[in-house]
Symmetry: C2
Subunit: 349 residues, 2 copies
């Protein structure tokens, strides 16, 4: 690929677009000085915003796109009517080789559907998955699939494990990542047939990953493994349950410190420590749903994030590109197929 | 049933049995003065412990049981070899009509398998489910199934909804409980076929419940609905993910207050408020996995709980009995079958 440092941005996608997209790109530029941007959206708006950031302006190109994909549009509609939208044009820019990756804070289902259609999957990969990083008691882990695939068979889960491990190795720099399959118990007999069959395959794999076995919901935040693998249904529910619980705790804590004059005073004394805690679990740090397994890099930003969160989503795309994530997935999926004696791309059906 | 106030206790089940079982029974006795207990376990140990609580002793009977079900024993093994165990004998005591309910802090899988076999399901109920209460931003809700049924079809999910609503009505006193199906999105097209079919059935039911539609993981702690219905696989993962996230927050918060002299001082000033927060989310308050749909009341206590937690598990059993939970389930399941034109007990297969 001749454009490793060019990122296409769906500048119109998200609750606070295009403002936070441009401000986020500027923050990402500071951290990743070699990156160039192609911003898809309404030229007048984008030109005006770029004027505030001359250094970003110098490495950015605006590509006019008049239409915006609606947040409520169904994936099937987006596929039919999405041509000319900022999202679709940014994806097609990666397909055309003008950009190496795309970041969008727009409609997740539409982004996945259009990215799958336009970019297709990597050789040997049956289905792309959505991955995200999250804080744990021990550090940070990655989990997938978070909702792209509702029903998954054993081969899907195994490929998710391989892609998640490739992410931990290339982007996070974990030499031999530990991988767990999300289940309702740790014993080998637990769960449905497909997850047990996936465990059997992973137990015998020669790939550079440490298969831990089954993990349970509490293992996610305990950081028991570097990579948590789930079908898209339970993975999505786990992710959102964790987000909801975190937000309940934050709310309760805020109310707690307002209870009395003494507790208010206590808050002020502990404030620097509490801010450090807030930073530790700041969702903006982990903002970025990485679409793994596509022939190109695509990252979904949370729709309601701010410039700092958006910059982190761009950062994940840049890291995947500079650390050769996709090249590693191609090699590992190929090796997986050789291990099992079935050529890559045939194992699924 | 002639013994509504007699609870059989598996006095040997759990990490800290029989000590916390006896202490827990004593605490429950204070709150539910009409309750009598039948304690299954080693007589010498239990006699000695009961001597500390004369008032409990006066309403308790010890039934000798020499064997204890191992925490790691598989359900199938427990079914074959469990005869003579404190758990099995306590369950059989309900079957024999000597007790109306059983509480155990032992092996969950063994308890469910033996309770299902000995007590059987209520008329019309296809499969029992495990339910639990939990704190939300708005109050308290109930969720099921939490792991008894890995694969669930639409009819199972609908019956879980009916049983969960019956619990909210009878035990929690919610007049017309709102019920949500746990899914990966709120749109009607989301999720797999069985969950969508369950939603179709619930949308047209005449039962005294308010079908909200699909809820997502974050809705659990937001308290969007009174009853969250899930298959046992994703329900178990959601529950344990929430527990893990809560425990991570508690750990982070503890570390935060130890960071500096000032933050330590802040902790002392805010301590009463922080203790109130701790009480608000105290897992002991919500200790009790209620087995719904059995012909008899069975409640699973957390294995590592203390006397207060165990007393709450007993309290749930007492409430289910005194509020006529099972009678309501029988009526509602019968009405559900009439609504759909299929006699109860035939709808599943």
């Amino acid at each position: 690929m001749s454009t490793p440092h060019v990122i296409a941005l769906d500048a119109m996608g998200g609750d606070r677009a295009p403002e936070i997209v441009v401000a986020g790109a500027n923050a990402a530029r500071v951290r990743h000085p070699d990156t160039q941007f192609r911003l898809f959206g309404k030229p007048e708006k984008l030109e005006k915003l770029l004027r505030r950031f001359p250094k970003l302006d110098a490495v950015s190109e605006i590509v006019p796109a008049e239409m915006v994909i609606d947040p409520d549009m169904k994936p099937s509609q987006a596929l039919r009517k999405g041509a000319g939208s900022s999202m679709r044009m940014a994806i097609d820019d990666v397909k055309a080789g003008n950009a190496a990756g795309i970041v969008s804070a727009g409609n997740t289902g539409a982004l996945m559907a259009m990215a799958k259609l336009a970019l297709r999957t990597l050789p040997g990969v049956h289905r792309p998955a959505i991955a995200s990083m999250f804080p744990t008691q021990r550090g940070e882990s990655v989990m997938l699939d978070l909702g792209a695939n509702i029903d998954c068979d054993a081969d899907n889960l195994v490929q998710f494990a391989v892609m998640g491990a490739a992410f931990a190795r290339s982007v996070q720099g974990v030499r031999r990542p530990s991988v767990g399959l999300l289940n309702v118990g740790s014993e080998e007999t637990k769960g449905h047939e497909e997850i047990r069959r996936a465990a059997d395959i992973l137990r015998t794999t020669e790939l550079p990953l440490e298969f831990y076995g089954f993990v349970e919901g509490n293992d996610i935040t305990e950081g028991t493994v570097d990579v948590v693998v789930a079908d898209g249904f339970s993975g999505n529910i786990a992710l959102k349950t964790a987000e909801g619980t975190a937000s309940m705790y934050t709310g309760f804590l805020r109310a707690t410190f307002r209870r009395s004059v003494l507790s208010k005073l206590g808050y002020w004394m502990a404030k620097p420590a509490l801010i450090a805690l807030k930073n530790r679990v700041d969702p903006r740090r982990y903002n970025g749903g990485m679409f793994l397994g596509l022939n190109g890099v695509a990252v979904k930003s949370h729709g309601g994030t701010d410039a700092m969160g958006y910059a982190n989503a761009i950062g994940f795309a840049v890291d995947m590109l500079t650390q050769g994530f996709n090249e590693r997935v191609i090699r590992d999926v190929e090796q997986l197929a050789q291990d099992s004696g079935v050529p890559a791309g045939v194992a699924a059906q």
